[in-house]
Symmetry: C2
Subunit: 85 residues, 2 copies
DNA sequence: CTGTGACTAATAGTCCGTT
DNA sequence: GAACGGACTATTAGTCACA
C-alpha cells in the first residue's frame, strides 16, 4: 500500500509524447497549452484538470479515457491520501 | 461544432451518484471531498483536477477511465476553446 | 529542445452558515 | 437532501526570461 497525495501524469505524458516523436513545443502548439506548462506536467510539478487531460489527449490522437487508463495502470493499488481528511 | 471552455462533470457525476443511491453527503464522505464542492461539481460551477476524478471514481466503485469515458460520450464532437490562444 | 524560477490571475477545494 | 452564499487557503493556469 503506497500512499500518494496527487495523481500526476508525468511519465505517461512523456512516454506518449515521445512515441509520437513530438517535441514539448509541438505538443504545446497542438494542444493550445504553454510549452513550459507541458514541461511542468512531465516533471510532476503540476497536476492537470480534466479539461487539460482532454486537450492533451486530443492533441495526441487518443481518447481521454485511454490516457486515464494508462494512469490507472501506473497508480494501481495506490491510496490517494487527502491531507484534509 | 459546439465550442466549450471547460469539461464539466455535473450530469455524469449526478447520474452515477444517484444510481448508487448516495446522497451528496455520503459521496463527500466516501471520497474525502467537501459536501459543498460535490454540489458545485454537479452544478458545473467547478471543474475537477485529475486527482479529484480518481477520488470520486474510487468512491463510486468505478474505474477513472470508465468515468472519463462517460464524459467523452457527453462531449463527443465538442471543441474546447482556449481563451488564451 | 527542455528545465527552471519567479510571477500574477484564476480556480480548486474547505468551512461556516441559510434557505 | 440539496442549492446557494461568503470568506478563506492551497493549488493550478499560464507566461516570461534565461540557462
Amino acid at each position: 500500500m503506497t500512499e500518494i497525495e496527487n495523481i500526476t501524469i508525468g511519465s505517461v505524458l512523456k512516454r506518449m509524447r515521445k512515441s509520437l516523436k513530438y517535441s514539448q513545443e509541438e505538443l504545446a502548439f497542438k494542444s493550445g497549452l504553454d510549452r513550459t506548462y507541458i514541461s511542468m506536467l512531465e516533471r510532476n510539478v503540476k497536476q492537470p484538470t480534466i479539461t487539460t487531460i482532454f486537450l492533451l489527449s486530443d492533441a495526441m490522437n487518443m481518447k481521454p479515457s485511454e490516457f486515464v487508463q494508462l494512469l490507472e495502470v501506473e497508480f494501481e493499488g495506490y491510496i490517494i491520501k487527502r491531507t484534509t481528511i
